[in-house]
């Protein structure tokens, strides 16, 4: 899926994360800010990248602000943002 425009999904409430995505200039430019960065930063990054691969996204700039979302929520929010950016 191509990222054609800016999109946002999710919220900044506890247990959730907010994903902002815009078209990229080549490759995936990922920034993460998380309330559990030290303990789960790597895992959060893996989850985000895996989801982008599954959706066929190769170029984008994506910012994820996490407030302790479990992996399933991160997957869902990233996918929602990607779909919104594709329509």
């Amino acid at each position: 899926m191509e990222i054609r425009k800016q999109a946002i999904a999710g919220t900044l409430q506890s247990n959730d994360c907010q994903v902002r995505i815009v078209p990229g200039e080549g490759g995936i430019d990922l920034s993460i800010e998380s309330s559990v960065m030290e303990t789960f930063g790597k895992q959060i990054e893996n989850t985000i990248r895996e989801t982008l691969v599954r959706l066929g996204v190769e170029d984008c700039r994506i910012l994820v602000e996490d407030r302790g979302a479990l992996d399933y929520t991160i997957r869902a929010r990233v996918e929602t943002a990607v779909r919104r950016a594709y329509e």
């Binding site: 247990n15 979302a69 479990l70 399933y72 869902a76 996918e79 929602t80 779909r83 919104r84």
Partner: protein, 280 residues
């Protein structure tokens, strides 16, 4: 609970409910319909959600969302789909789509249906609606939308929905499915909830919708068999076993005839007592 709230979805199985409804309809704003259906899909695939029946309320037939809701959710194999504003048409259309998706995704589960009766037509067409599919497990009364459809005022005393309640409870019983009463909307009135739920139980409802987890304990207390009921049921079943050994079809207990219907009711009581942990 609102399908777009990850915190609530995760802890849904910690609330002591028998059945939970992940809602894609009224509790989700139009802007977030897409986010909710994706989140619920992921939640269903990941969360263990043990010991509880997991259902999803999709958007109604007259909305642009129901098809994508089903496409997203059915592959994740929920225990049930809750169809709002149930009608013969909505049930048949959605069942067709559900079956198609189950086939296409080779799902193991065949999802059940729970129908919300919340329109005047839904009430008077109840028999046809229940007969429109063999997957229907329960009917739920939605009094708020029903009174809106009727153009009448919804009150706490609930006299205006008496007919609807009797009809739903009776029809469900006729078809041997569950009947769930409409939610009691005053969350702070525990005594009112208890009294109103006792009435629902007395006319044949087998359960009730809770709109706040705080209501669950009271609803359970009302619908749980009492210690006396359990003991009496156990005695009846024991006597029934004895009678059968002696080759007797019916027998009397406490001056009343005990035949098959009475035995069946005793079995139900002991079963639900076991389910709620009231007997070991």
């Amino acid at each position: 609970m609102p399908g777009n709230n990850p915190g609530m979805l995760t802890s849904a199985d910690c609330l002591e409910a028998d059945s939970i409804i992940f809602d894609l309809e009224d509790a989700v704003s139009l802007k977030e319909k897409d986010a909710a259906r994706i989140l619920v899909r992921e939640a269903l695939s990941f969360l263990p959600l043990q010991g509880v029946e997991v259902t999803v309320r999709v958007n109604p037939l007259d909305s642009p969302y129901w098809k994508e809701d089903l496409e997203s959710i059915i592959p994740a194999e929920p225990d049930g789909i809750v169809i709002p504003k149930a009608s013969v048409e909505s049930v048949q259309t959605m069942v067709k789509e559900i079956k198609r998706l189950e086939e296409a995704h080779q799902t193991e589960k065949k999802t059940k249906l729970l129908l919300i009766i919340e329109s005047a037509m839904g009430l008077i067409d109840l028999r046809n609606i229940i007969e429109s599919s063999d997957r229907i497990d329960a009917i739920l009364l939605g009094a708020e939308d029903l009174s809106s459809d009727m153009g009448i005022k919804r009150t706490k005393e609930s006299k205006e929905i008496e007919y609807a309640r009797y009809l739903v409870a009776t029809a469900a019983r006729a078809y041997r499915i569950d009947a769930l009463d409409t939610p009691f909307t005053d969350i702070d009135d525990v005594e009112g909830l208890e009294a109103d739920t006792r009435f629902a139980k007395s006319i044949g409802f087998t359960g009730r919708l809770a709109i706040n987890p705080r209501q669950i304990v009271t609803i359970h207390e009302v619908f749980s068999p009492t210690q006396e009921e359990i003991e009496e049921a156990q005695i009846i079943l024991h006597e029934a076993e004895e009678a059968e050994k002696k080759g007797l079809g019916v027998f009397s207990y406490k001056g009343k005839m005990v035949d098959l219907p009475v035995i069946k009711r005793a079995e139900q009581i002991v079963d639900s007592a076991r389910k709620w942990g009231l007997v070991r």
